[in-house]
């Protein structure tokens, strides 16, 4: 009996020793793979579009075959990526990452987290093919990324529905009000909107403010230079209030997102919807030819046409290990035929003017429309400080549900503005 017992204890002790040794071995083993691959390029993508992911993968394999470099692509969920980028840019940066141009890019540039790629711009002569879009990735005369697809925001509708009711896209504010009444009498929701994710309320505010106060004043507000209680916003909220009271928007819009609102448009339950070209993903393939774009109607005559045009972008983090490899791959990826194929899958407008013309009539229409636009902002949550955007969009959503709280919402937003912009 006793021998049995002692035998058991020795095995236990031996087991513990063995485990300790194994742990120690694995701990030292962890340091070994630090001998890095000679030529490896890592990419973190936030693409939610399957087709686009496949094209990126295809381009990567082509580049691997051509150059002998190894490319590793890590796909992340689009929303999760927005928070993850803040940590991975500091520790464990990839060589290439996807992001948004403009203010959102600038936030990382000022912290020194994106690499200056002006050399790549000069070498590939990107300025000549990008034109005005260059400014979206430029801070202080230096270029920190390459602009990707652009989204032109506006009102989308179904051609067959409009033809059936003999409607035309409203051009002026009075047209728009009349159109809303007509839609309601046809038992349709005039404007489909889902504000669960808040940003559609921000976009609607952008469009009304751009039509009433113009681009400069709108940007001044986004930069925190104009208070939210400023009288210039009174007509914006007055007119918006008329629409809310008039039942122009989807009922219970705060309980669902844009996908469900887009489905209502596709199913002919709603007449129009304020979105970018990606509204196409809410439509079945067969219905796509019916989808059409109309600019947001004019509100104050004489105000030039300004639109929200948001541009995504691609960057080399400042902490990337293989900056030269990243530049070489970007040069290949950014060739007109490659970039064109990549962006066509998303229905986005290519930033290069030498990309092959798109087969998508919606993209071509947007390209034509863009030529008539005098100036562009990006989007509420891309133009203002992220902290302000969060409070602001929640406030605008609250206004859409409880318009009678307007005074107190605007006061609260201005308190936030003062805290952020000083």
């Amino acid at each position: 009996m006793t021998t049995d017992f002692s035998a058991f204890t020795t095995t236990r002790r031996r087991f513990l020793k063995g485990t300790g040794a194994a742990l120690a071995a694995s701990a030292t083993g962890l340091c070994l793979p630090a001998l890095a691959q000679a030529q490896e390029i890592t990419i973190i993508s936030n693409l939610s579009n399957v087709e686009q992911r496949q094209i990126l993968q295809r381009l990567a394999s082509e580049y691997e075959a051509k150059s002998g470099a190894k490319i590793v692509i890590n796909n992340m969920d689009h929303e999760a990526h927005k928070t993850a980028i803040r940590s991975y840019l500091v520790v464990g940066a990839p060589d290439i990452c996807f992001w948004f141009s403009g203010n959102r890019m600038k936030a990382f540039v000022t912290k020194g987290l994106f690499d200056d790629i002006s050399d790549l711009f000069a070498k590939e002569n990107y300025k000549s093919v990008l034109g005005a879009t260059t400014s979206a990735v430029t801070v202080g005369g230096k270029h920190y990324g390459l602009p990707m697809g652009g989204l032109l925001w506006g009102l989308f509708y179904r051609k067959d529905v409009f033809a059936e009711h003999n409607w035309t896209p409203p051009k002026t504010w009075n047209d728009f009000l009349a159109f809303g009444e007509a839609a309601k009498s046809a038992t349709m929701i005039p404007i489909s909107m889902g504000t669960k994710e808040l940003w559609p309320a921000g976009g609607w505010f952008d469009h009304m403010n751009l039509r009433i106060n113009g681009l400069d004043k709108h940007i001044a507000l986004m930069d925190g230079k104009v208070p939210y209680t400023d009288p210039m916003l009174t007509p914006v909220f007055d007119k918006w209030n008329d629409l809310i009271k008039g039942g122009f928007f989807s009922p219970n819009h705060s309980s669902f997102g844009w996908e469900q609102a887009g489905a209502a448009l596709a199913q002919k339950k709603a007449a129009m919807m304020d979105l970018g070209g990606f509204v196409r993903s809410a439509f079945p393939e067969a219905d796509l030819p019916q989808l059409a774009y109309a600019p947001f109607p004019e509100i104050v005559p004489g105000v030039a046409r300004y639109e929200d045009f948001s541009v995504n972008s691609i960057h080399v983090p400042a902490n990337a290990k293989n900056k030269q490899g990243a530049r070489d791959f970007l040069a290949f990826f950014y060739k007109p035929e490659n970039l064109g194929a990549f962006l066509a899958a998303e229905g986005a407008i290519p930033p290069r003017n030498d990309c092959p013309p798109s087969k998508d009539p919606l993209v071509n229409a947007a390209v034509e429309e863009l030529k008539k636009v005098v100036g562009t902002s990006q989007y509420y949550d891309r133009d203002t400080d992220p902290d302000m955007a969060q409070e602001g969009m929640a406030g605008l959503q609250e206004f859409m549900v409880k318009p009678e709280r307007r005074e107190q919402i605007l006061k609260r937003l201005d308190k936030t503005r003062k805290r952020i912009f000083g």
């Binding site: 803040r86 840019l89 009922p251 705060s254 309980s255 669902f256 929640a394 609250e398 549900v401």
Partner: protein, 294 residues
């Protein structure tokens, strides 16, 4: 080597065994908590340099209407979750009967515990959907219109907490079932001899034996209610316009979306202080129970 070991093993052995747990607890829980308090005294965006602001975050918190909304919602969660232990007990008593088919019923009640909370949230989100949800179908059958619970600032927290209550009831039921299985048969037989039946049996013989389990069920439910987060994130993202946030969600929102880690840490600290009251009460009860058992 072996002599050193032999001389010191009476204290080395327990230390070595405790070390992994202590290191893990120390770094993941203790150090992180202390750092949170430290961060809450700074203005920090999560990347750049921290600026010392003293108690400014707490002063701002005291003047933040959103904070009081979150606090109020935490209390609503707590009150609704308090339904879980009694309902769980009632269900446990029902499914504990020796009747054919009870096993199936038992496993059905057990289901929500197997589902991930996120799944429960998504499912309830659909139930509440004003356009195609089960609730609307139910109201529609009687010719009514269901209220859009998730976009109504008054009802939204109740609706989300009710969804969270479902798995919590199942959890309490399991606890009580385990308790019912370890009842002392002698006591029950003695009670029966003395003529106790039905309600009196339950009240005076069964329930006193379940007091330990009941205590654990209540304590775990309180803590579960206070750290509620995932359900809110999935079902409403704190909306509409922040009216369904709780402290844990507001902390997440301030830190991650608004990039205000200092302010978020201040909220976390307040939540921690509230929780510690309950945790202290829980630990105190546990220690007492262990002493009386020993």
């Amino acid at each position: 080597m072996s002599r050193v070991w032999r001389r010191n093993r009476h204290w080395l052995t327990p230390v070595l065994f405790l070390l992994p747990g202590l290191i893990l607890f120390g770094s993941v829980i203790l150090a992180a908590s202390i750092e949170t308090v430290w961060i809450s005294l700074h203005d920090w965006d999560g990347i750049g340099a921290k600026t010392w602001v003293g108690l400014a975050n707490y002063v701002e918190l005291a003047d933040d209407p959103q904070f009081y909304v979150s606090l109020k919602n935490n209390i609503i969660w707590l009150l609704i979750f308090m339904l879980a232990p009694p309902i769980g007990l009632a269900l446990a008593l029902i499914v504990n009967q020796q009747i054919r088919g009870m096993r199936i019923l038992k496993s059905l009640f057990f289901v929500p515990l197997v589902l991930a909370t996120v799944t429960v949230g998504v499912v309830f989100g659909w139930v509440y959907d004003p356009n195609f949800g089960l609730l609307q179908l139910l109201f529609g059958a009687f010719g009514g219109t269901a209220p859009a619970l998730l976009s109504d600032e008054t009802f939204v927290t109740f609706a989300v907490a009710a969804a969270g209550l479902w798995p919590q009831i199942a959890f309490c039921m399991i606890l009580f079932l385990a308790g019912l299985n370890s009842l002392n048969d002698d006591l029950i037989a003695a009670g029966r001899v003395d003529g106790a039946r039905g309600w009196r049996m339950l009240r005076h013989v069964v329930l006193p034996q379940l007091s330990q389990v009941g205590f654990i069920a209540i304590a775990v439910t309180v803590i579960g209610a206070l750290r509620s987060f995932d359900m809110i994130a999935v079902m409403t993202s704190g909306g509409p316009y922040g009216s369904s946030t709780v402290l844990a969600y507001q902390m997440y929102q301030e830190s991650i979306f608004s990039y205000r880690f200092g302010y978020g840490a201040a909220i976390a600290t307040v939540l921690f202080v509230i929780m510690i009251v309950f945790i202290a009460w829980y630990l105190n009860g546990l220690i007492k129970a262990e002493r009386s058992n020993a």
